[in-house]
């Protein structure tokens, strides 16, 4: 049955391809090169002592990124990078046991990463079939040799284990997608360099801000995928985002920072009014922070509002919801929720879904959108938590006990094997309170615990990597709220560590949800753009710590002033 289905599917995808050759198709030469080399690789590439690859997937990714930075109304950089990468996913052995998902430990005790596998290599920008084939040929050769060696090491590591891992196959038995996503043109907005200048000029009116910068990232990508199981995908994507950062020193020398992130809908023009308002808001916040009293050690109820709640939700859930088993030889990546399927992980009423198909939530743009994941599997909406119980995981093509298939959440960025990761993570609750009611609930908790005050966190420092759970971000805006309802901004407070377990102790949640989006710096590009939606979250009892560490002396020389408008 399976075999038959595959044959039918291959036939089905071959026909439109042949048709494509006769009509002008911008991807035709690239797909031709990919298919030519795929055929050679699957048929002929083998060492005498080892097996041929049983699965090969190629990605050819085009990406044009414009990166602009401005400060105080003047441009600091404006760089356009146009790149084309080749990434290979090559498997030897069998579905039951192959070279993927292994990170062994060397004799020196170092963990051998699997980052070499599928590491991207540059490909020619021209649609030149023979030059592209050459790039794919060398990438395949390197990937195959690496795969053969890795499989041997993985086998040796497994044989040396006292209690071997539970037997789950290495690779799911399913077919990758055949899909061409149409490129939706976006309207032209204002010149992004001018936009960066104008938004950054807001800070000219805030002489108490020492340093400020506005970053605009505009990117357009086109991903092409061809696999030995007949998979064939072309998917364009766009992103436009603006990041505002500013910092200054309080009179005692403590450094304070604020930041904001503004994304556009579907990679279209950035909303200048929103960006300008955000710049004004963070500038005002920073000046308030500069003059705010210092936070003290405190234990008690803490309410995360707005983007802080969404970022915290990602921090606690992002990695834990990955269903990809820990790599053979490295249990550290094992999810904290791996044995909780069907159990309560959040209070009743909460649900969590991840839906790469969304591009907007309640009018706000979401940036984790894609149609096909980095393993060529069509993205699915997946219910992860339902009424507080864990119902599923974010799956790549590495099966786990009880879940045989991917749900299109295999994301690798450009390097390494894909792992199940969030795209657009949406946390909701049935019993959300209004903002006012939630504040009252906070004060009620303060009284119940006989504490002096409660804490409200509205902004956390932005994340810079996609890997969550290793540390709790530092609050940018943290307030103390006394029982009389008076709110005071505090400076320098830090949160003690939190884990996914703490989610069970959520006292109450808000009715309205906020969106937090970020683009991972470490992997770069669109592949690790993530959005998180969550309501405000009230925790019963968390620790806040006073700031530690020496402060730098403030400048001896006052900041320069220049009279006259820009």
């Amino acid at each position: 049955m399976n075999k038959l289905r595959r044959l039918v599917a291959i036939a089905a995808c071959t026909v439109p391809l042949l048709g494509a050759a006769s009509t002008p198709n911008p991807d035709a030469p690239i797909l031709e090169a990919m298919k030519d080399e795929l055929a050679r690789t699957t048929k002929d590439l083998r060492l005498p002592s080892a097996g041929a690859p049983y699965y090969v997937g190629y990605w050819v990714v085009d990406e044009t990124v414009r990166d602009i930075e401005a400060t105080l109304g003047a441009l600091v950089s404006d760089v356009v990078d146009r790149d084309r990468f080749v990434r290979t996913e090559l498997r030897v052995g069998s579905r039951a046991f192959d070279n993927s998902n292994f990170s062994g430990v060397t004799a020196d005790g170092d963990v051998e990463g699997d980052t070499e596998a599928g590491a991207p290599s540059d490909a020619p920008l021209d649609d030149d079939v023979s030059a592209l084939r050459r790039a794919l040929w060398l990438a395949s050769d390197a990937a195959y040799k690496d795969a053969v060696e890795t499989l041997e090491r993985k086998r040796a590591a497994k044989e040396s284990e006292a209690t071997p891992h539970t037997e789950v196959p290495s690779f799911s038995d399913e077919r990758s997608a055949t899909l061409t996503v149409k490129d939706e043109p976006v309207p032209d907005g204002p010149d992004p360099a001018d936009l960066a200048r104008r938004v950054s000029a807001v800070f000219r009116g805030f002489p108490d801000v020492d340093k400020s910068s506005v970053h605009v990232l505009q990117s357009a990508a086109r991903r092409r995928f061809v696999a030995s199981d007949g998979g064939l995908v072309v998917e364009p994507s766009r992103l436009a985002a603006l990041e505002i950062t500013c910092e200054t020193q309080a009179d005692d020398g403590m450094s304070v920072e604020r930041s904001a992130f503004v994304a556009s809908k579907n990679g279209g023009p950035l909303p200048e009014d929103v960006a300008t308002d955000e710049a004004r808001r963070v500038a005002r916040d920073l000046v308030a922070l500069k003059n705010a009293p210092i936070a003290e050690d405190h234990s008690g109820p803490v309410l995360f509002e707005g983007r802080a709640a969404a970022e915290l939700a990602y921090e606690l859930l992002g990695d834990s919801l990955s269903g990809t088993p820990a790599p053979e030889g490295n249990d550290e990546l094992e999810s904290a929720l791996s044995h909780k399927l069907g159990k309560h992980v959040m209070p009743s009423g909460f649900s969590v879904v991840d839906d790469p198909g969304l591009s907007v939530f309640d009018g706000a743009p979401l940036i984790g959108h894609y149609a096909v994941d980095d393993e060529g599997i069509a993205a699915e909406r997946v219910t992860l938590v339902d009424d507080g119980r864990l119902k599923g995981f974010l799956m790549s093509r590495a099966p786990r006990q009880g879940i045989d298939h991917s749900n299109g959440h295999g994301r690798s960025g450009l390097v390494g094997w894909a792992r199940g990761k969030p795209a657009n993570l949406v946390v909701t609750t049935k019993s959300g309170l209004s903002k006012k009611a939630l504040r009252e609930r906070l004060l009620e908790a303060v009284r119940e615990q006989d504490a002096d005050y409660g804490i409200v966190v509205t902004e956390l420092e932005p994340r810079t990597t996609a890997s969550s759970g290793d540390m709790v971000p530092t609050p940018e805006l943290l307030y103390k709220v006394t029982p009389d309802g008076k709110q005071t901004l505090l400076r320098g407070g830090e949160l003690a560590s939190l884990s996914v377990r703490d989610l069970r102790d959520i006292l109450a949640a808000g009715h309205d949800a906020a969106v937090y989006s970020f683009v991972s710096e470490s992997d770069g590009g669109l592949d690790t753009a993530v959005s998180v939606v969550a309501p405000a979250l009230l925790f019963e009892d968390l620790d806040v710590r006073a700031p530690t560490g020496p402060n730098k002396k403030p400048p001896l020389v006052p900041r320069p002033t220049v009279t006259g408008a820009k």
């Binding site: 030519d36 080399e37 050679r40 690789t41 002929d44 590439l45 083998r46 060492l47 930075e69 401005a70 400060t71 105080l72 109304g73 003047a74 441009l75 600091v76 950089s77 404006d78 760089v79 356009v80 990078d81 146009r82 790149d83 540059d122 490909a123 020619p124 920008l125 021209d126 030149d128 079939v129 023979s130 030059a131 592209l132 084939r133 050459r134 040929w137 060398l138 395949s140 050769d141 195959y144 040799k145 000219r204 020492d210 340093k211 730098k552 002396k553 400048p555 001896l556 020389v557 006052p558 900041r559 320069p560 002033t561 220049v562 820009k566």
Partner: protein, 594 residues
Amino acid sequence: MARARSALVALSLCACARDPRHAGNAADDLALPQAPKRLDLVRATADGSQPKPALIGVLETELARNFDELKKHSSEPPYFLSYQAIDQQSETIEASFGALVSSSDDRWRSLDVDVRVGTPKLDNSHRLRGETESGRDFTRSAWLPLEDDPLAVRSVAWLTTNAEYRRAEEDLVRVRANKRVLVDEEDVSDDFSAEPASHFYEKPASLSVDRAAWEARARRWSIPFRDHPNILDSSVTFEATAETRYFTSTEGASLDVARTHARVDVTARATADDGMQLERTESADADADAPDGLPSDEAVKARVDRVIVDLEALRKAPAIEPYAGPAILDGRAAAVFFHEIFGHRVEGHRQKDEEEGQTFARKIGQPVMPSFLDVFDDPSIHAINGVPLNGYYPFDDEGIGGQRATLVEDGVLRGFLLSRSSVRGFLHSNGHGRREHGHRVVSRQANLVVDPARTTTPAALKQRLIDDVVAQHRPFGLRFHEITGGFTNTTRSGSQAFKVLPVMVYRVYPDGHEELVRGVDLEGTPLAALSRIEAAANDFETFNGVCGAESGWVPVSATSPSILVSQIEVTRKEKSQDRPPLLPAPAAAPGGKP
């Protein structure tokens, strides 16, 4: 650790037991036919009388304000402040096997602030003995706006000055403590020399590149590699830069130096059947002052062909066995050899740093190489024998005019490369204080020239090599034609050896025929290597490249004729165990894009 690394080709001589027949200074008793030399040094006539660039004015205002305020408010007021802004614009185009691989432009403007507290006799820049802290080699470099908006530029300058001032204050405390607890230093010369301040304004450099035309050229030049399936990787890279270096100091210096540069690189890689990785880069005739001045189409094609022929030959060449014997270093290889083993060791700051090997610190007035050799370094030379020099500049990164530094005369050491950090017996800079943005200035090479008083023909030099081979009862001698890079350790903590990585090396047999070999490494020690130079030819060649050391990467050149050394030692190169690709290269599609 003060390790000088260089991207230049380097070569080495062996320091093992000398052949008794060649003891003493062999050069003086050589009876080689003399041949006239041609060494045309073209000095640039830079126009420094242009209007003062707006950026300098903005920087001067902020410099003066910070200097005044710091003098008023600080307990340890600075005695000197300077700002250096570097504005660089570049275009890079790379093609491979007939297709474009990358095409990009970049523009940035950096700011480096130098703050000096204490006195010129002893200030925060003073070397800390017994502490290895590479962080001190770096500045708190910042990015300046590309636009001359006064508030935006001055805000960056203000914060950077503050960061550097705070560090200078702390460093001075450590310098004073270090001096109190350790024995007296051998060289007590000043940390900062007194120099006149210059005014010099060039027109800021600009770049105009017809990108589509250069992309088409790069594609075309890279096509011939397609017909060579053994060549796994190859590229033709075009790079053009326009750079303006702005400098202003509280001593009143105010200047900018503008430079444009263009280069075409040709490089290719193959794997020998035994897994040895082979790479051939052709660096001759690669540079020009501007894209228009680059060598012709035919010249680039000839370089591409040379790389192909050499790489194919290297694949089939025998791997070398360890060997010691006489050798010729061809012009560019010899130039790199001098850059590595001599040039880095006459950088002024190494003479007073007691963690340095100080090979030449106490050798002023003494012979350090055969008496027929002169060596100098001169940043003010713009071209030699028609070849533009990468190390040309009218002023260095401390605002001091680039001047000829006489290093060796008649084989006797006469001087050092000097920045404003004085060295015993040398109270003034000779304009060799250089840096890449983000690094502290130290003395560096610019245009190194090896100028023998007596030269012979290349043919006579080869005959002499053969005579040496026969006299030493060796089966063959060696000729080093091209070297890809090298490094040299100058500190006392390591061996004072250098190692260079030659690519094109030939065995020269007594009957005169030559055989290419591969997998050669060259090692040696500097004084022994220099003393074994026997003769030089009249075929001057220039190596243009970039050199990396404590103060970052700086453009340099080195010029030398071919030289004969009485003994050199080579070892086997480290070898990769990788197999060549398992499948043959995909067939080149006919009618690919030209």
